[in-house]
Symmetry: C2
Subunit: 328 residues, 2 copies
């Protein structure tokens, strides 16, 4: 490791650590992370690569926050409570211009979201590469005391629910590169910000431990991810297209045939939760929605058999051609 | 994620997991890793980038094993016992030729070392990139019951010890690209194999919990890493060059002035342990050497003040120009 590398770690990343969490100022061979009152930890890892998962010209603090939040979303999907993360950072030398300036902004993004989500940096590795910048974060959490939310627990007859609104990020990605499509600058920036900075549903995940039979986060599109959940649970699903919750921005585009329901359900980067629960739990679920200030909508029912059927308001099946958004 | 990606994960990485370790067949959002009888875990992360940390034409199973072992070496340096790891794999599309063939060999390398070191894959992420292949592994261990080996505990008067022999990998790296330099094909392949496949000193690290005052692993060269250890402990050191343990291969090169003592102590990739201990513990230490079948050599003494002095057999200081090998 170069002297420069040490001074960068000291300057930008050491302030993100604390003695309490055993990061040892990023000076030792490993972190010594205290584990209290838990017999297991929840661990999730996401790798993000420049030009595939984020744009080269994206602001470094947005990149940092998205990298953290996609991981946090995985923990939300398990109903877990995050407490720490580590960072493998591969810096693309040729791409980043002034690396110190980029790192300064990047570490500010991490700092902001550490505070927001109550997590701390415990360690990692920083190296340089002549290729693209890549970020590999592992996030650590304590499991939901009521039981972890797995993908495999959905039962025939359960309701299917989603948090928030679907399709905002997919539309945001389009608007980001083609702002002339926009109807309103406010709607435009709402959708782009939904693409840029996901909102991991940590509080909802924690609350769902009591009631959900299965859950996951929607990162590769509602259709594909519901397929995964159903596959893991060995069930099928029917979904009512007109129940899928849309923001007023997405709704305006869909109404004017500028964005289709297929794009809504196959577009990526929603980072909302999709979960199943017995229908007699609906009252508790909508109560949780109120307590956690999260919109929750029932969009369908778990069925026997395999596969997902999407129905329009006339009861006709909407054929979905594209299986899902692909990050790779 | 593409369908292809799922089938690759299923084919190559799922066999490396078990239900016991909560990897959930790599099918869920995160792993649920059981933590038994410990109030903390030891976590270390290393990122390896093609062309910087490994050669593009290196065998994929060797790359996998080196990636695991550099991490294992960090845990050895903490005196910790490894139990699991996760894998962020960024596959360089253009570089790898037949990706499935590469992954097959890569996963075989992981499988071999999982078995050897008693660890299991718990999760991760696999993505593709148009840049170089990069591997980001986080390794998890339980701390040494006698106390973790930190870098910061060296005391003035302590002996300085190293495991194994120093400089083999640095010479191996030279011989790898210039085999005509070699005196014997056996010596050649010994040094290259020391460069390719480090030997993390897990058993020694576990044993040292009782006696060492400070420890770290040597990855960036003995001189630079001892400097780090001394810096963290706020002490200096004197080292006797003629005590630094050399393999007969390195010794032959040094004798013939084809490889210098400076190259020995500044070359990277040794992955031996360097540690300090009170001199009255020497008997226990050499007993541990016998039990763990590890060569241990005392090479110097912790001094007050700052900086490292290397003395030749006449007591003259050897000036060291290059501070250490740089991976970045």
């Amino acid at each position: 490791m170069e002297i420069k590398e040490f001074s960068r770690i000291k300057k930008f990343f050491r302030p993100l650590t604390s003695q309490r969490m055993g990061a040892m100022e990023l000076l030792d061979d490993a972190a010594l992370v205290p584990i209290k009152k838990t017999d297991s930890i929840v661990v999730s890892t996401d790798a993000l690569v420049e030009k595939i998962h984020f744009h080269s010209d994206e602001r470094a603090d947005f990149i940092a926050r998205k990298a953290l939040r996609t991981n946090l979303s995985d923990l939300a999907a398990m109903g877990a409570k995050p407490f720490a993360y580590n960072l493998g950072l591969i810096l693309g030398k040729r791409k980043l211009g002034n690396i110190d300036q980029w790192l300064n902004l990047f570490s500010k993004g991490l700092a902001a979201d550490q505070k927001k989500f109550g997590i701390e940096l415990i360690g990692g590795d920083t190296v340089t590469s002549f290729g693209p910048t890549s970020i590999c974060i592992s996030i650590f959490g304590t499991p939901n005391p009521e039981g972890s939310l797995l993908r495999s627990g959905a039962k025939v007859g359960d309701g299917i629910f989603v948090s928030g609104t679907i399709g905002d990020a997919a539309l945001g990605l389009i608007l980001r590169s083609n702002s002339s499509l926009s109807y309103s600058s406010k709607g435009n920036s709402y959708c782009i910000s939904r693409y840029r900075i996901p909102r991991p549903r940590i509080d909802l995940g924690l609350a769902l431990g009591e009631v959900a039979s299965a859950a996951m986060d929607i990162s590769d599109g509602l259709f594909q991810d519901l397929n995964h959940l159903c596959g893991a649970s060995d069930v099928g699903a029917s979904v009512w297209a007109n129940k899928i919750p849309l923001s007023k921005e997405v709704n305006a585009f869909v109404t004017k045939n500028k964005f289709s329901i297929e794009q809504v359900i196959t577009g990526g980067d929603d980072y909302e939760l999709i979960f199943t629960a017995p229908v007699n739990k609906e009252t508790s679920i909508f109560n949780m929605a109120r307590v956690t200030k999260t919109r929750i909508t029932r969009i369908g029912t778990v069925q026997s058999g395999r596969g997902i059927s999407i129905f329009d308001e006339n009861g006709d099946i909407i054929p979905v051609v594209k299986g899902g958004y692909s990050h790779d």
